[in-house]
């Protein structure tokens, strides 16, 4: 396990996640904080951004004359095209998600359980208006679901929990949880701490109340999240062979 001296800012966390996204991946970034990850993706890495409203090859936010009301991201923010982009309708866009064609998605969360259940759509409060959007489709569909969140809520409680208390978005769907205090991998035998930022595993066990294992941060600079085995792919892509231990 590697460590950093202090907890990460949102931007540092976004950069940390971006570093784990393999070259050539098809990636969906959820609305809110996960969109920050785009700022840290190397444009030459061949990563292709998917936006659920019907586009592959989405570019950065549009400015000035680039703004076109017919071209927005999932957060309804105007964006630009990149060379090689494509458009498709909503049923195709979600077939792409549900059908397991996206390599990685990054989502925000209210809570993640130690078995990888995700809650990010509804607080369950009686006066709240539920809104789900594409969260449930992404949770079940992307090959790897990465969560980006603060480890503790405003009330100081851990958002990484033994069992969800908020309504679930998807069950056993999260691969990794990236937080300001550390990175956690969801394994079938429990949570593994891959990295800590300004704290220790013992400290995290104390503050979260969870049983955590100290995991190796295997590899060099770029841990590979996505396993491109090739077995389930029609066309091999230029992704370096995965040395990543399998999930679970």
């Amino acid at each position: 396990m590697s460590t950093a001296a202090s907890r990460l800012t949102k931007d540092q966390l976004a950069a940390r996640i971006a570093a784990d996204i393999p070259r050539g991946s098809y990636v969906n970034l959820g609305i809110g904080q996960p969109t920050l990850v785009a700022d840290h993706l190397d444009l030459d890495s061949g990563v292709v951004l998917h936006t659920e409203n019907g586009m592959l090859g989405m570019g950065r936010a549009a400015t000035g004359d680039e703004i076109d009301p017919d071209l927005t991201n999932a957060g309804k923010v105007p964006v630009i095209e990149t060379p090689g982009c494509s458009y498709f309708h909503h049923a195709d866009s979600f077939a792409m998600m549900r059908g397991g064609h996206l390599d990685v998605c990054v989502l925000g969360a209210f809570q993640v359980s130690e078995t990888g259940d995700l809650a990010n759509w509804h607080t369950g409060a009686p006066d709240s208006i539920p809104a789900v959007g594409g969260a449930m489709d992404l949770a079940v569909g992307a090959k790897e679901v990465l969560v980006m969140m603060t480890l503790f809520g405003k009330d100081g409680r851990s958002k990484l929990v033994p069992e969800l208390t908020y309504p679930a978005t998807g069950l056993a769907c999260v691969s990794r949880v990236y937080t300001d205090h550390g990175v956690f991998e969801v394994r079938s035998d429990g949570l593994l701490v891959i990295e800590t930022f300004g704290c220790t595993v013992a400290g995290l066990m104390n503050s979260t109340g969870l049983a955590l294992r100290d995991g190796p941060r295997w590899q060099s600079e770029h841990a590979q999240v996505v396993s491109h085995s090739g077995a389930d792919r029609a066309t091999p892509r230029a992704v370096s062979p995965s040395a990543t231990p399998g999930r679970g």
Partner: protein, 238 residues
């Protein structure tokens, strides 16, 4: 060829210069699909026309439940909507819906976005329902039939059929073939097939043959009425 007695003429696409004329088929209590994702692809002229046309007790199926005071929000505010079927009603400027929902004046059926699209696709494709992993084990699957297929949990979802679809496209030709622009395509092609009557507003109408057949996204078979915005009196779209 002269048709045999009792065989009526094949229906053709009708072109209109006003929203009022294009919307004459809409009735009270209709289920209406409304295209758009945010403002991209939103058939604003048709929605404004629907407010003027006055049908009530509508069920609206759309991704969102209105923003600000225009479009769907204005239709909601006018008290014409009984029920909203959508994936993402809550937005920073969805206050019209929020208030109606909280005061019990509008019913909400919340549907995951991909399931919403696929339920309409199923309706248009003649599919009686489908099993999807989306939502399995969540509140949104409560009361629905589930099945385990190859070790994975799935939820049965049924088609959403509608009386009318209101969508926006970029161009139509004279047989109703449609092309869209960028992400404004969104729900348009799916909704066009899922409704008994599809009404499209387009930025312009071109002569038949002017659209490359390889690039047509919605074939004219799905289109019944076209409102040519370039021919209609320009309305204030603010």
């Amino acid at each position: 060829m002269t048709p045999s007695p009792g065989v009526s003429a094949v229906r053709h696409v009708e072109f209109h210069g006003s929203a009022e004329a294009a919307l004459s088929v809409v009735r009270d209590s209709d289920t209406i699909l409304v295209g758009g994702f945010g403002m991209a692809g939103m058939p604003v002229t048709l929605i404004d026309g629907l407010i003027d046309a006055g049908p009530r007790d509508l069920t609206i199926v759309s991704n969102n439940a209105g923003n600000g005071e225009a479009g769907l929000a204005a239709l909601l505010k006018a008290g014409r909507v009984r029920k909203v079927v959508c994936s993402f009603p809550r937005q920073h400027d969805s206050y019209v819906f929020d208030e109606l929902y909280r005061s019990g004046q509008v019913e909400l059926e919340l549907v995951p976005q991909g399931t919403l699209a696929e339920r309409m696709r199923a309706a248009g494709a003649g599919i009686g329902g489908f099993f999807t992993p989306t939502g399995f084990g969540t509140l949104l699957a409560e009361g629905k039939e589930t099945r385990t297929i190859d070790g994975r949990g799935y939820v049965l979802e049924l088609p959403i059929r509608a009386d009318v679809a209101l969508i926006a496209a970029h161009r139509a030709d004279r047989v109703g073939n449609l092309v869209y622009r960028k992400t404004a395509r969104n729900f348009g092609p799916v909704m066009a097939a899922a409704a008994s009557t599809t009404i499209v507003e387009v930025a312009s109408v071109v002569e038949t043959g002017a659209l490359d057949p390889e690039n047509i996204v919605t074939p004219g078979i799905y289109v019944d009425h076209v409102l040519d915005r370039s021919a209609s009196t320009k309305k204030n779209r603010a």
